[in-house]
Symmetry: C2
Subunit: 301 residues, 2 copies
């Protein structure tokens, strides 16, 4: 089974997902909760980080692991144009683990939290054989203003922030900028809010599993196809890494065709990579040829 | 290290926990979020359920595991007098796991969700070597009305719902009522709302780790001590199991001394077990003698 199939099995078992307060459920970067009388919508997302899957204790420093655990959640908030607010941390630890490891993990996480004004508001602790961490991130957007995956329209220009493939390269490289990108991804929180408030993007999501799979997900949600003809590559990354590598945590977004998008936002390049086409077949074309969907899937055989 | 020590290390590293919207952070059953202009507070809690720690695949049916994963979160919402609203599910699964196992897990979880009007609104999926599940539960209470652990006052009567030790007995017993209690705990959701709305309890929490440790936690939060002289035992449970056994998911609550509490609420006995005393030493006495704190702690040596 693939992740998509496991999710499909779940959706088939769920009743109709109408709910008086949850205005977006499964299917986007965050769930959206609209409190009675509230001026703002609350975005909520949860992200696992698991030893042996997302990191190795031998090669990943605990402070980097703490940083990445929170960065993944903040990136989901950024993808919807949200302002991060607070987080909850569920942490399962093997019994022989040093106080130093725990302190360093907390340091990495709390430093990133402080940089974004995020309060650690609760969580859970358990034993486990592998380190397992689940971060719940919450953020706010003005009512009904969240950027969605499903907002892309045929004719929209498709953009990505930054350069892709850096994290995949860093996973294979012991040092340098790519290695730092892999260890300490920077969630594009300010950019996400800029896309919502100033550029009025039609759709956005974060690139966590690779451009090929994530763009296909956006197409599916928006009932569009996509034709791309360029991909900004991280220095040294292969085209393969840029197209299919995960964990870049850049933003993928679409704009109405006449919109003007600056080339750079606060030092981060914004690159037009292609155009959304009429769906509903959700094909992704690179230079006119079908792009295989090879991004990260935990359960692909 | 104990869980309390790991939490203490975290608290020491956190800046002051003042936050404009999180009115309750670490230290109670749920975090409390107060949205701008919102009529209701949002309760949020996260609970891990881990193979080899909380259950064994060989002896626990997947539907029971799904049930218990959500029941733990609903019990935290109940403890604060909340109305459950929605949940998020983070699920890490070993690669060779059957579609049947997954379907059955979902069934157990979604059946309990439907019974309480809870929507599964999102989550995350990952691989892992052990099954690990983290449930985020959200619920609502009218603004500033949540029941807290810290609300107990000297002189308050202390109560528990139901009978204790059933889950500990069930863990050791292959069948019968105690086994069902262990496999399918029923979160006291209606009771929690009744304690808040009708009985106006001063303090409440759920009994997840055992009366001795949980009552000590309430005393610490409220800066009280407690003297108890009776404990309602689950049929067949030992005094040891009733005092220190975890996972009963009954409610512990305190009432001003003059309050009238019915003996039974919807079939669930409500038993006065003792009295809160002046703190701040947070001692717990049983029949006048100090009660050792032997409830469940994942990290105790």
């Amino acid at each position: 089974m693939t992740e998509a199939e496991i999710l499909e099995r779940l959706k088939r078992r769920m009743r109709s997902s109408r709910h008086s307060r949850v205005v977006m459920g499964i299917g986007d970067d965050c769930a959206i909760y609209r409190g009675l009388g509230a001026a703002e919508d609350l975005l909520l997302t949860t992200d696992l980080l698991i030893e042996g899957v997302h990191f190795l204790r031998a090669t990943h420093r605990p402070a980097d692991i703490g940083h990445k655990a929170l960065a993944r959640g903040l990136s989901d908030i950024a993808a919807m144009g949200g302002k991060p607010s607070f987080c909850l941390l569920s942490l399962a630890l093997p019994k022989p683990i040093s106080a130093k490891w725990i302190d360093s993990f907390y340091s990495g996480l709390l430093k990133l939290a402080a940089a974004h004004g995020v309060l650690l508001a609760g969580g859970d602790l358990s034993r486990a054989e592998q380190i397992a961490c689940d971060i719940v991130c919450a953020g706010t957007v003005p009512r009904a203003q969240a950027l969605l995956r499903s907002g892309a329209r045929p004719g929209d220009s498709i953009y990505v922030s930054g350069a892709l493939g850096g994290s995949a390269l860093g996973l294979a490289t012991p040092r340098g900028a790519a290695q730092r990108r892999h260890r300490r991804p920077e969630p594009r929180v300010e950019l996400g809010q800029y896309l919502r408030k100033t550029l009025h993007a039609n759709a956005a999501m974060d690139l966590s599993d690779g451009l090929s799979i994530d763009l296909a997900r956006m197409c599916r949600a928006s009932e569009t196809s996509a034709a791309i003809d360029r991909v900004p590559r991280f220095p040294g990354a292969t085209m393969e890494q840029a197209l299919h590598g995960g964990e870049d945590y850049e933003l993928l977004f679409t704009m109405r065709p006449e919109a003007r998008v600056p080339a750079v936002f606060r030092g981060i390049p914004l690159t037009r990579i292609g155009t959304m086409l009429k769906g509903p077949e959700t094909r992704v074309l690179l230079d006119g040829k079908p792009l295989p969907v090879l991004g990260h899937d935990h359960f692909r055989r």
